[in-house]
């Protein structure tokens, strides 16, 4: 094999390229100067503090949280039974159903946002929030189905049969035997869905109205008008939020095997 040092060098360089930029924005946000520079002009937390004073961020943060949490829950409510059916039954038109459910992965988000705006919000009077909710749910659904399916496939179906022979109803077998054993898969799907939704930009580009903006969209427009270190600070905070969630998930679930 090639040498230990070559291995380390390659990995080191790649990780620097992939992760280095985050350290730079974290530090850039700590600057005491008025403009974005690196290395930072002195050290202060004032730009990190400023992020929390921007009024619109609070609303957009709330909206993004709402979409990420409830969009994911809705996707799981639809997705868990679908994943169960796909892994246990030979459904008529099963391939068609799988293709439909998986479709949102290959449709670029920007198109989805535009389509929902043109055909749900404008003619049918859906509120922007509702349209966003629909779009996020549909977007997370394929991930939910995939992750839950893979943990369902690891579960032998004779366990459910055993439960039924011991007197369970079918639903009972699902709640008493299947659900407890796919828990971590469902949780992983939730986290993956949450992060995907929370970071989602293209879908929300066209789906924004007065006072209704997701956080990443709000950030994009804030970036256009601001060039002080608060933008770096905000980016750093967002990145840290994701890192914390993923770190916890990895620690408790071994998350990376579900990605």
């Amino acid at each position: 094999m090639y040498s230990k040092w070559t291995t380390r060098l390659i990995i080191g360089l790649t990780l620097t390229f992939l992760i280095g930029p985050f350290f730079i924005i974290i530090l850039a946000g700590l600057s005491d100067g008025e403009f974005m520079t690196f290395p930072p002009d002195g050290i202060s937390l004032r730009w990190y503090a400023k992020v929390f004073t921007v009024e619109s961020f609070r609303d957009s943060f709330k909206l993004s949280m709402f979409l990420a949490i409830f969009g994911t829950i809705a996707a799981l409510i639809l997705g868990v039974p679908a994943a169960y059916a796909i892994s246990r039954y030979k459904i008529p038109y099963g391939e068609t159903i799988k293709t439909i459910v998986a479709a949102p992965i290959i449709v670029p988000g920007i198109i989805v946002g535009l389509a929902l705006l043109r055909y749900l919000v404008v003619p049918l009077n859906f509120t922007v929030t509702l349209a966003l909710f629909m779009a996020h749910t549909a977007l997370i659904l394929p991930y939910a189905v995939r992750v839950v399916s893979s943990s369902m496939n690891n579960l032998r179906s004779d366990m459910e049969e055993a439960a039924v022979l011991l007197g369970c109803s079918r639903l009972g077998a699902f709640t008493r035997v299947v659900l407890p054993n796919i828990q971590s898969g469902v949780l992983a799907a939730f986290i993956l869905g949450f992060v995907t939704s929370f970071n989602q930009v293209p879908v929300s580009l066209f789906l924004s109205g007065p006072g209704v903006r997701t956080l990443p969209i709000d950030m994009l427009s804030y970036m256009e008008i601001t060039y002080d270190p608060s933008v770096a600070a905000l980016s750093a905070l967002l990145a840290l939020l994701s890192v914390v969630i993923v770190f916890m998930a990895e620690k408790f679930l071994g998350f990376s095997r579900y990605v």
Partner: protein, 342 residues
């Protein structure tokens, strides 16, 4: 049969359009230990699953103790099944695995505790009640699965390949345990296996199946000593089977004249029924394998290959040397073509 407890009548089982079992009729007596024996794909597991209610028959009826249960859902049948994979619940402790069905019956807590305790005692797992199934050995998991079914006091206990996942020593132990349990509880047991030795050692009666059809039904003694078809004979160790044509038997490479009344069917010899070292026929020893109590020889004869065993206490013959052997008619089993013994 008037004393039938479990009764399958004209049972047809199919997966979609593929018929696996065309027309099965079987009566099992109360307290009997019966084996469904056959190679994989013979329909034995499918038949067992239909008794459990995990598979709906296309036609025919299943009844227990005179009550038709063909349409009764699996969770209301009162039948136990020990899965080949054991199908234990990995998220529950040993105790909770056994208590699972009892809790569904909404029995009082104290009653459940004592029944579980007793159930675990029966299979010798009382000291492990706090463990998780994954921390147990294969043999212990098997016992746990057994206890989980037994505490439900099922009318019939089904076992799917109960010994196949165990090593040789545990297999013997489990076999004795199953027999003891059956004696003590008097429960009716039906088990599925592909291993003739297992069926012979355990069962009161054996149902030998092939392609969804019952090939022969009888006591272990009957099947072992008096198989009545080529398939049954082959399955129970008659490894030298030759077709009769007129006054000759036909092997792969030649024929041999024998003195026999029958004009058709097969003649079959166990390897141990053929004498070597003396006799009217000649061959060459092509290989020898030492198998503990026996030596196994392959003899190349004009008739074809012949498999012979001798006790290993007798001196061995040399590989490659010519050898005389005797296909004695009185030690052969005659099988008729259509499966009926003559």
């Amino acid at each position: 049969m008037s004393d039938a407890y479990v009764s399958l009548k004209n049972l047809t089982l199919a997966y979609g359009k593929t018929v696996v079992v065309p027309d099965l009729n079987l009566d099992v007596r109360k307290g009997e230990l019966i084996a469904l024996l056959g190679p994989s794909g013979c329909g034995k597991t499918t038949a067992m699953r239909s008794i459990a209610g995990l598979m709906a028959p296309k036609s025919g009826t299943i009844s227990i103790d005179g009550v038709d249960i063909t349409r009764t859902p699996a969770n209301k049948r009162g039948i136990g099944l020990v899965f080949q994979s054991y199908a234990l619940f990995p998220h529950l402790s040993v105790f909770e695995n056994v208590a699972f069905g009892l809790r569904l019956k909404k029995l009082p807590k104290a009653k459940i505790a004592s029944m579980v305790e007793q159930g675990l005692q029966t299979v010798g797992l009382a000291h492990l009640s706090d463990r998780k199934p994954e921390d147990m050995s294969g043999g212990q998991q098997q016992r746990l699965s057994l206890a989980r079914s037994l505490v439900m006091e099922p009318k019939v206990l089904l076992l799917d390949e109960p010994l196949s996942n165990l090593d040789a020593r545990l297999r013997l132990e489990m076999r004795n345990e199953l027999q003891r349990l059956q004696r003590d509880t008097g429960i009716t047991m039906i088990f599925v296996t592909h291993d003739q030795a297992e069926a012979l050692a355990l069962a009161d009666r054996i149902v030998l199946m092939k392609d969804g059809i019952v090939e022969q039904l009888g006591t272990p003694d009957e099947l072992y000593n008096a198989p009545n078809s080529k398939f049954a004979a082959d399955f129970f160790g008659f490894e030298n089977i030759f077709e009769i044509e007129g006054s000759e038997i036909v092997g792969r490479t030649g024929r041999l004249t024998v003195l026999i009344d029958a004009k058709e069917g097969y003649l079959a010899w166990r390897p141990s029924a053929i004498t070597i070292g003396s006799g009217p026929h000649q061959g060459t020893i092509s290989s020898m394998a030492f198998a503990g109590e026996l030596r196994e020889y392959i003899i190349e004869a004009p008739l074809g290959q012949i498999k012979v065993t001798t006790p290993s206490s007798t001196p061995p013959f040399d590989i490659g040397s010519p050898i005389a052997f005797d296909l004695a008619i009185d030690k052969a089993r005659h099988l008729s073509k259509n499966g009926e013994e003559t």
